[in-house]
Amino acid sequence: MKTSTTARIGLRTVALGYLVLLIAVPIVLILWRTFGEGVGAFVDSIRTPAAISALNLSLLIVAIVVPLNVVFGVGTALALVRGRFRGRGLVQAVVDLPFAVSPIVVGVSLILLWGVDGWFGGLERLGIKVIFGLPGMVIATLFVTLPFVVREVEPVLHEIGTEQEQAASTLGASTWQTFWRITLPAIRWGLTYGVVLTIARALGEFGAVIMVSSGFPGVSQTLTLLVHSRYIDDHNTYGAYAAATLLMGLAVLTLLGMTALDRKRSKT
């Protein structure tokens, strides 16, 4: 279809105009406001005790969630691709569920299961505080990040098939040796991609975490909760901008990482 020059430029203007107003200008503006008062002010704002503790908490959650997701994500993907068991369809559906559930609904569900009055409320009476404690935030993050590793590893497992693993077994490799030396290296880029997505989502999750966190500054605030509370509770707009810029920097790093990985994956 040969569009006339005017029509093409018209379409281009509309598309770019929409993107500029929706994305570009707001982001430039927030960067402007963050760094308008100098880099020093930005650094100070993200080095307050509350901010540092929020960053630490966010990283701690990532550090707990990523290994669990790797182990169970790879396990689930292996079961889905290699296993022949009844209920595979159900497992497939359950893995996709977190994509369809609102973060707030995740939070409510977890409160109703793990909270004092929930099904597992007994735990809290035993002194194990899940909701409004670190375990709750970890579980909420696990819920929303569950699909990433599975869905990135699964197609790779499909693609490599079983022949390489069978070849390894005929050459004398045990199941574990085959997994470590053949399967894991073969899925490494898909797995890394899934981990990057998990990290990004874990750092950025807000709705599910705010529901199950007590939200005390310096104690149970993640970075996203810090942005929220600075804006809403402290009326510290600048501080909120600065924390948001920090998170945005992490997100851009993620994007860059994903692009690099994409290129790497398409090569191998």
């Binding site: 409510v108 807000f206 997100a251």
Partner: protein, 307 residues
């Protein structure tokens, strides 16, 4: 946050269903001999043993199924009547109405603007196109609360252009349009790249105008991708919280969306109300995704028939 590749690929796998791993197909391949090879081999070389499957099942149950079961059971704590009462409370109903209305408008805006942007990114050429292309993914990578802050800086109380959308329905629209931007663009883009341009040229050679060609030839090919992207955007907008929490204003019956209502009910300790509205939200999302899946299956079959 979800990524484009994820959605694109999720679409792929759903169309493939649970078929066996694609083996390199060779004309000399020993079809029937190799066909049964996959299942028995897993006994020796796969890690997926009964124990592993059991562990995975337990993990998924505790993490996902049990919480949702607890939610559903709680919502029915006082029977169907209690559920209905909770859902039909005026404020609850209003929040659901606002949610669905705004999400529907956002979905339509996405369908139009997303297709247009995809078109410009594929068919047009201008300096900086790659940067614009990278920009599309940003809303997926950005934490939702950051999206909220970012939009407030332009459209909030300190707006440099004096557009104040804070605590208005248009404010909700902007926030949701921001976070759902990539869905349609990223599902239409690959299809548009694959479109056979000769078909368009054939239509033009038969005397069709540009608009006719687009409407009669291009749009039908893009329709499944547009609908699927729009549906995903709708499902996402229904449950969105982080991006609307700052800009929405949370005014009952006006800008309070369902997720905010749920959060509020938990805060004032009305778990049944929260659970009931949550179940409705879940149901809307499920129905949307289910219809999409049906639709995808049908259009796939139609394409297969055509071959």
């Amino acid at each position: 946050m979800t990524t484009t590749t994820n959605h694109a690929r999720r679409g792929d796998t759903s169309t493939e269903g649970s078929s066996l791993p694609p083996r390199p197909h060779l004309p000399l391949g020993d079809g029937a001999d190799s066909l049964p090879a996959a299942p028995p081999s897993s006994r020796r070389t796969g890690v997926a043993r009964p124990l592993g499957v059991g562990l995975v099942g337990l993990w998924l149950s505790v993490l996902v199924l049990l919480p949702l079961a607890a939610l559903t059971v709680t919502s029915l704590g006082e029977g169907i009547g209690g559920f209905w009462h909770a859902v039909s409370a005026p404020v609850a109903l209003a929040s659901l109405r606002v949610t669905v209305l705004v999400a529907a408008i956002v979905a339509v805006v996405n369908a139009v603007m997303g297709t247009l942007i995809a078109w410009v990114l594929v068919r047009d050429d201008f300096p900086g196109k790659r940067i614009v292309n990278a920009l599309i993914d940003l809303p997926f990578a950005l934490p939702t609360i950051v999206a909220s802050i970012v939009l407030l800086s332009l459209y909030g109380p300190n707006s440099p252009i004096h557009i104040h959308l804070n605590a208005t329905q248009p404010g909700l629209l902007v926030a949701l349009a921001f976070v759902t931007l990539p869905f349609v663009v990223r599902s239409v883009q690959p299809v548009l790249i694959e479109v056979d341009r000769e078909v368009e040229e054939a239509a033009a050679s038969l005397g069709a105008s540009n608009w006719t060609t687009f409407r009669r030839v291009v749009l039908p090919t893009l329709a499944p991708a547009v609908i699927s992207g729009t549906g995903l955007a709708f499902a996402r907008a229904i449950g969105e919280y982080g991006s609307v929490v700052l800009i929405g204003g949370n005014i009952p019956r006006k800008t309070q969306v369902a997720s905010q209502y749920i959060q509020q009910q938990i805060e004032i300790d009305r778990p049944l109300n929260a659970a009931a509205v949550s179940v409705v939200l879940l149901a809307i999302a499920f129905v949307t995704l289910f219809v999409l899946r049906l639709f995808a299956g049908r259009s796939l079959r139609r394409e297969e028939d055509a071959q």
